[in-house]
Amino acid sequence: MSLEITLLPPGQGSQRVVVAGRLDTHTYEDLDEALAPLMTTQLHSLVLDLSQLEYISSAGIRSIFKARKTLAAHGGKVLVVNPQPQIQKVFDVVKAVPLNDIFGSTAEADAYLDAMQRKVLQGDDSD
């Protein structure tokens, strides 16, 4: 089985990417290549929809870390949506993504992004 990567139309400083199948030694380079052009300083939130991801290994975690590091350099983040049990287990063990950045559904992630956007527009950075 391979990896299927779908880029959704970009939002305001955010980009959703659906990653389906297996993210492992055989496929992580495909994800790296797909994400590389998105990693601009305009991107604040990369939303990885993992609802259909079935399996991840440390090679996949490395790809996610690369993206997290690139975005963190300008204050951006990787958000994760709906990780399945094996993926959640691996994430928990290696603390791949902070718990606050993991969402149960795309609706929850969108609500969070909307709230962030409103904060920016209101110039409210009191957090």
Partner: protein
Amino acid sequence: MLIRLIVPGEYARVEDLNASLEAVLNRHGMARAIRDDVRLIVEELASNAIDYGGEPAAGTAQHELSVDISIEDGLLHLEFRDTGAPFDPLSAPEPDIDADIRDRAIGGLGVYLIRQLAHRITYQRIDACNVLRVSLRIPQPESEP
């Protein structure tokens, strides 16, 4: 022993190895969670052996990987052998998983993952092979008394 699988040490064969293991475990009624753990362990160990095994011995085209699998007393035993350079994965330093992402190394997580998933893990160098034995607890169905 349920099965011993031997494949050449190359990436394309690791998936064959895992597909065969998956079929055997499925046939023995192993749940998805433990099959996923086995897939992960085999992938991590095979990748390490392929990436860091060094030059194959004179007269051989490539390293060889073998996996023995057995079930006993509620444990699933995996014995992983490779003909690569001596390497004890258990001697690798633990990654700092609490570091800020900007300071965190992106690698070194494979062995850490295996150690966290395993009930028991031992390394020996035997007959020019790295031999890693990993035991996993087989989860009991919750409906059982």
